[in-house]
Amino acid sequence: MTALLELTNVAASYGSTEVLRAVDLTVAAGGITALLGANGAGKTTTLRAICNLMVRTRGEIRFAGARIDGKATEDIVRLGIAHVPDGRGTFLGLTVEENLRLGAHTRHDRAAVAADIARVTGAFPRLKERLQQQAGTLSGGEQQMLAIARALMLRPKLMLLDEPSFGLAPLVVQEIFAFLRVINRQDQTGILLVEQNARMALALADHAYVLETGRIALKGSAAAIEADDSVRRIYLGY
């Protein structure tokens, strides 16, 4: 399988605080990779390093074969990497529809954008009902749906998701994860999923990495990691 995203020996720091030491990580084209680990292990920082957002990075990051490390965030996004950050990155003062249109900011095919709005609101009917509402008035679950829907408006080749289950009711989480699987199957969109909820993440992913204080402590197929009791207890805590 060809690699869509490839991190080689990536280190990242905020100021003089080094958070990632030497991370090697791959997301296969059309694959779902889970990135697990305790709080402070560097999961969010890994996603930020990929998008060159707020962190200084060293090492090599390749997307579809080409180097992207050192590029500006907006140029990386334009290559087809949609990042749903922690805190969701929603424009709370703008309407749901405006948020979706912003997701398609880099596209100029009007008809296709309109079709995509219909598609994502078809998948999340609650967004459809609230298209003209300010995003700040949505519930947490609806905001997460909006964040994912907005990311899809880019027609990304790769989605980076930072804890999409955070703070949400289990039923809502299931709805969102089921939709992620549909996206992955239908569009062959690669997904790099950062999660605290290891059980759900491993059920969705085909590969998984476990981060521990800035290093990859463990990697393998999601099934193998899930099946290994000692790994589960030591690293994933369930």
Partner: protein
């Protein structure tokens, strides 16, 4: 009664000018949290540009459009060249840069065009059909032109993808990057639009106050008072505030403090708003965690 009507209406005419300046200030404030003290001087310089073109024989409306275009380009250039290098510096550095810009533009205008007040033509002839008993033709035209410009600006922000992207940047620059918006350019375009609004205000006000390098000093204060009154982060509020300040200034000038002390009305408004309701009439209270 007739005099009161006249004062009210001509207050609205002045208010349109203040509203344009207030909106220009708010536009830059919303996306960068900087108050551009040089806004008035840039407007004054733009007006000189129009004056020079008209003096060279360019028809009024052609000079008008060319000046708006040139001001837009100059606003973009100033953001890129002067403001961008200091955008992440402490606020005091930015303030000094703006004050420096103010002094430089003011002196350049004096050096190039002299300090003698010049007559600036009005495009609206005195005997135009819309000249009324309460307002001169120029005042009516000025209200119409500023209202049209404000409507265009609001439609731009509301209905175009570029306007939407600029609103997104004002709300959240980081998230804007994540949808691929080139944040730096949006800020530059904001400066360009602000400079354009200023140029409009300058060209509309110059036939009344005469064109000289210090023409906009007072008007910037009124615009600032309007922006503060409406809420410095609220474009609609700023426009409303500009009109309110215009009317207040005229009424107070005519009936309370007299014309010599008119400018103190603006200062009183600024201080009053800051003391009583710092977020302005229509502003949002922002609570930030420290």
């Amino acid at each position: 009664m007739q005099a009161l009507w006249h004062q009210l209406l001509s207050g609205l005419a002045n208010g349109g000018i203040y509203a344009s300046i207030a909106l220009a200030l708010v536009m830059i404030y919303r996306s960068t949290h900087h108050v551009n003290f040089a806004q008035g001087e840039l407007a004054m310089f733009s007006t000189y540009l129009a004056w020079a073109m008209i003096a060279a024989g360019v028809p009024y409306w052609a000079a008008f459009v060319l000046t708006l275009g040139a001001s837009f380009a100059a606003g973009v250039a100033i953001e890129r060249i002067v403001v961008r290098p200091v955008e992440n510096e402490p606020i005091l550095v930015v303030v000094i840069v703006f004050i420096g810009l103010l002094v430089i533009v003011n002196s350049m205008a004096g050096w190039l065009f002299g300090y003698t007040p010049r007559v600036f033509p009005s495009p609206f002839p005195d005997d135009a059909w819309f000249a009324g008993s309460y307002l001169s033709a120029h005042e009516v035209g000025m209200i119409a032109v500023t209202l049209a410009m404000l409507a265009i600006v609001f439609a731009f922000f509301r209905f175009t993808p570029l306007g939407l992207a600029m609103r997104a940047v004002a709300e959240d620059p980081l998230s804007s990057r994540l949808v691929g918006i080139r944040v730096g350019w949006m800020l530059a375009i904001g400066w360009g639009l602000a400079a354009m609004l200023g140029a409009l205000a300058g060209m509309m006000t110059a036939p009344i106050v005469y064109l000289d390098p210090n023409m906009m000093a007072g008007i910037l204060l009124y615009g600032f008072a309007g922006a503060l009154m409406g809420g410095i982060d609220n474009p609609w509020g700023a426009v409303a505030g500009g009109f309110i300040v215009g009317v207040l200034e005229n009424l107070a000038g005519a009936y309370v403090v007299g014309t010599e002390l008119k400018l103190s009305v603006a200062l009183a408004v600024i201080i009053g708003v800051l003391v009583v309701k710092p977020s302005g009439l229509f502003g949002r209270r922002v609570v930030s965690r420290v």
